[in-house]
Symmetry: C2
């Protein structure tokens, strides 16, 4: 297998190389033989979803995900309605962009609340509201469990098991899950849960980042380049493949140190790390 063949399943989430414009991202990614990109709503809306779809198609790139919807744990009616409207808009954008995967981050605990179970139940209610809309557009909602360090302020769904418990209330083509190494690497139950997710056709996306310390203030932008940290990335790939997943392997690293470097160089490094630490 040539390196370029090895890169066909690789996708680069654009936050990994945030400073690149969409045309730069498309050009640099395609010339390395990388198969796809994961995109974010703000840059896609600025460029126009249809134009972004055309751009990626012209470069032979798959759009492996749109990030992201979700944030529907508010208890107050007006806030809930606004969140649902925003998620319908995200589903429209995903359809126009030509991706089947809208990544969802559930949202945290509303201010002053301490009831995680009720907040998770509101996630299920929001999914139920959105499911028919998603199905009509041919877009799958991919619920992403985030690391437990985000449970209060960002995502009350902390484990792959919890994400599957929610997703399995809906048909597999409407709601799947994201398996992200950064969020799940510490959990000894993950191999079993990946197997469960695969058996039931629930793995909508597989994302990679490495775990490095010390964590920065706010713990949002401290993800590590592949191979720099504690995660056995190859084990995750093996587990997802054993579970039948054949989809994209999307690298999503939020790290200001990468953003300060030349984007093309970061893409080359990421591709090399992928070949070395994942394949």
């Amino acid at each position: 297998m040539s390196p370029a063949q090895g890169l066909a399943r690789l996708s680069i989430n654009q936050e990994t190389v945030r400073p690149l414009s969409l045309p730069e991202l498309a050009g640099r990614t395609a010339e390395l033989g990388i198969g796809g990109v994961g995109l974010w709503r703000d840059p896609v809306r600025s460029y126009g979803p249809a134009a972004a779809a055309r751009l990626m198609r012209q470069h032979g790139l798959a759009v492996t995900s749109l990030c992201r919807g979700g944030f529907f744990t508010a208890a107050e009616a007006g806030a809930r309605r606004a969140a649902l409207d925003d998620n319908r808009a995200a589903l429209d954008e995903a359809a126009e962009l030509g991706t089947r995967v809208l990544v969802l981050v559930s949202g945290g605990l509303p201010d002053g609340e301490r009831d995680l179970a009720s907040a998770r139940e509101r996630v299920a209610e929001a999914l139920a509201e959105l499911a028919p809309y998603a199905r009509e557009r041919g877009v799958r909602m991919a619920l992403e469990p985030l690391h437990p360090m985000y449970a209060s302020d960002r995502c009350v769904v902390s484990t792959l098991g919890q994400a599957l418990d929610l997703a399995e209330r809906f048909p597999a083509e409407e709601v799947g899950v994201v398996v992200d190494t950064y969020h799940l690497w510490w959990d000894e139950r993950v191999p079993r849960q990946i197997a469960r997710a695969g058996e039931r056709g629930r793995i909508a996306l597989f994302q990679l980042a490495d775990w490095v310390t010390p964590l920065p203030e706010g713990v949002l932008l401290g993800r590590g380049q592949l191979g720099d940290g504690a995660v056995d990335l190859r084990a995750f790939r093996t587990w997802t493949e054993a579970a039948g997943y054949r989809g994209p392997v999307e690298v999503e690293i939020f790290n200001p140190a990468l953003w300060e470097r030349d984007g093309a160089e970061v893409l080359r490094e990421t591709a090399a790390r992928y070949l070395q630490h994942v394949l």
Copy 2:
């Protein structure tokens, strides 16, 4: 019940009021009617374990824990031997101090390693080495699961379930677990695991801190005063009591904002918050 009666089970871990000397800690704590203190090895060694024991006894205070031993995940033989020696010294100090509880933090992944399961197995091996020594001294090793955000650099035991899986390989009087709200609050399995721990007589210590965000750089010193955060503290107390636990309720908050304030004032506030949010 008078407030002072309500405070009999309360214990203050000295890191909550770090600037207080041991005599100040003893005096201020006892005059509020608080029942106990949790102590750390460095200040205890400086003061002398036997003198510290006398001081606390004179003030009618229980020493509810000594923090801490552990950090035995090294794979290299010399480092393992050094860690075991240090833990034997900690067990001696605990015995001399008159506490039955030595808190253990397992240690993280050695540099460059990615195998959490093997690191956890080395924790079990260390416990097996130390158990007879602990038994002779009448000190129980209390294995503390830390939040998964510490899994790589501090503690490969991330859930109460994992801590119990390790502890249950040994007699209950040799190895117990610490139930700490800060580390466990996000985990939906915790009520069941506390019940399991209680049934089998494994709860060696119950510790409290609240979860507040944003987390600071390094995520060590960001614990919240009781009532300031996302944790349902009363639910944890109820679960531990339903599981048969009648021991101390030790407040352990690492937070520089508390250290900048007058220690006696922080103790009064902590006692008031305990009465309001825990009892």
